[in-house]
Symmetry: C2
Amino acid sequence: MDQEAQPFLYRSVSGKIAGLIEEGVLRPGERVPSVRRISAQEGVSVSTILQAYTLLESRGYIEARPQSGFYVRSRRDNLPPEPRTSAPGRPATRVGISGLVSRVLQAVTDPEVVPFGAACPAPELLPGQKVNRLLAGLIRRSGREINSYNFPPGLYELRRQVARRSLDWGGRLAPEEIVVTCGATEALHLCLRAVAQPGDLVAIESPAYFGTLLLLEALGMQVIEIPSHPRHGMCLDLLGDALKKHRIRACIASPNFSNPLGSSMPDEGKRELVAMLTRREVPLIEDDLYGDLYFGQARPRSAKAFDTEGLVLLCSSFSKMIAPGYRVGWTAPGRFQAKVEALKLTTTLATPTLLQAAIAEFLESGAYDRHLRKMRAAFATQTEQMIAAVGEHFPAGTKVTRPAGGFVLWVELPHRVDSLELQERALAERISISPGPIFSARQRYRNYIRLNCGYPWSDRLDQALRTLGRLARG
Amino acid sequence: MDQEAQPFLYRSVSGKIAGLIEEGVLRPGERVPSVRRISAQEGVSVSTILQAYTLLESRGYIEARPQSGFYVRSRRDNLPPEPRTSAPGRPATRVGISGLVSRVLQAVTDPEVVPFGAACPAPELLPGQKVNRLLAGLIRRSGREINSYNFPPGLYELRRQVARRSLDWGGRLAPEEIVVTCGATEALHLCLRAVAQPGDLVAIESPAYFGTLLLLEALGMQVIEIPSHPRHGMCLDLLGDALKKHRIRACIASPNFSNPLGSSMPDEGKRELVAMLTRREVPLIEDDLYGDLYFGQARPRSAKAFDTEGLVLLCSSFSKMIAPGYRVGWTAPGRFQAKVEALKLTTTLATPTLLQAAIAEFLESGAYDRHLRKMRAAFATQTEQMIAAVGEHFPAGTKVTRPAGGFVLWVELPHRVDSLELQERALAERISISPGPIFSARQRYRNYIRLNCGYPWSDRLDQALRTLGRLARG
């Protein structure tokens, strides 16, 4: 398109918008007024405004998001760079972080504390109230059977909905292949115990979700931390080396939006990951908790989509998308189905019937998909705003990830910063963060923190991040 | 009292009632018409009727139950004798019953199957609907926080109610000493993992609850089955011998109404049990699931009441008394509190917030105590009716327990009966039972079955028990 050949009008509009962005009136991640609205306001045609926005997009001011409109992009020149591939060191190791995690979790329930710590969406972004109303309706309509035990594999209606949705990530699950669990936590727990024993060596991403590390610690398993790229996840060549060198019994990974990196393994990588593990009969426990929360155009595939031998145990939950307090998750454990069902009898016996039924109804109604669209847009925006604010407030030398989904950021601070000290000083100012060492079996990443982007950006958050930046400067 | 000196009237009344009982119009366990009602019907004074009932009681026809009236007693001469103290054999052993349990559980949810199998109260005896309505009310009143995570140790209001009730069993728990769990299953799971490792030797009652055996099997622990008396529970002298001979790391027992025996350890026994374990620093995991369901005058003490060193880990739940499908239980794990809380983060992370809140409200309202009184009377009656019916329908040589609480019977059949075969043939007739071998690590008790007395006696149940008796005859 030859921009000089266009009439003046669209350049006037684009100049105005660019000005608003440069002055900070429109902030990174915020929605730009819709084409129709500006068209009406300025009295120019829709196609002219569209031309203006296309120009702004080509100049990097804004970006289009499917079915959602145009949004202010982060100003790339101001932004901190991304961290490099992690280098956790290679020897097998036991885990020892349980003491550090509880402070992060305890801060969640205190509304006075700024919630940068645990990975929690803002309650107002969740449809919990809507699902609660479905629950109340269920109570009115149902007989006494709704209070009875619902033994593994779980409520058929919910399993049917999960199976139906498997088409979205390239799968074709049957309801019979799914086990409902008390959250993804129980799913991971059951799957890991189904495939490995105490003392066994398990390969994980580095950094890794602290819940996975706590679990490995509690089960007395050894871990080998595989270096991971902030955009593409676990380094497959290094995993390959480890598989040759060590007797690895299982692998745990989040190819879609790992926590804390937010990395997104390309489909080819997922295929290779599954193939490489399958050749050695090593089960893959795939934590797909954040898979529905992609920022791009389409749902990425799960590694499970490439599983031909039933060796991938897919785990997920509705906690981050519907209601954390419901504790309803699920797993599709492949050839370990019977073992997972049997183990479930000894951890919780059953998942609460009422809560399964309410979530099944919500999924069936179609409201879940509408809700997910809104939630994805919100998290994309909030994450971008947080990146920009980190760039603004944090000390020089800070690096930050560019997640492709989910709602957490992994921030590398200058070497002299001790994130455990920072956590303590931040909590004294009523700000919670997750310190880097809880994401590593041997408490590496001392100068890293994870930031939760689950809350809509606000002056309060901006202020808190400014304070954090000040504390990090020392 | 000199009966001959009383006027004729009371003998006439007592004669009538005795006749009704002998003809089977009034059946064992059924309530005799109230004193007031008969007084009005017969036009004689209350004190005369009271005299008549006292005579019937002294002759063994009826029995008084506190605050509930008079009930028809089992005709002792017809009843099968009790089984003897169990003799499970002594060597340490691994468990292998998981294959047998699922058939029992699967039958629970089929309303077409007569529910003698799993230990489940009839839904109509449970106040689940009432608690559901409290839940619906909570949903109306509460803000979004009711959908948030509620991390260990769990909802304060619920822990406060559990602590308040600890006075009933001779305890003085503080809310801080309690951890809310997903049912007693998770409580037992967490406590066992807090005190023992895979390969460790654990002492249990014999026969024992199959869930405990499944758990020990899943955790790769070894068990030693201690002979148990059908009325007094675990034989303490034999436990003492085992403690001297073997390196026992933990003991699991249900001093109040063990499942399946229904035995009730005297308080002195509980004191001795705790003292004997404490001397060797062996933790006791006390499964007190049925403790509130006593048939006698008062709540028996828990062994935890005699715990001075924090070595008793008390476990219970509201599943059998309120709503199995809620999955809300708790533990008071003594000195293992921190460990249990940390382990819970890796099994389910949290217990559903809404369900904890609804149960806390039910307990607080006082409705729970009223409900328990009714439930105890119902289970006492139903158990007695089942004992009588076993006496009537089962082959000669059958023995049956006399539980002091709970709602299960342990039935010893003639030696030639194979309860696994019986289970299969019964299921073909749509009757579920629990075969003896699932209550033993090494699948002993092949000629035993456990019968659920959780349902109000009916012609359907009577018919089913008659069929069972016919099948047992071969």
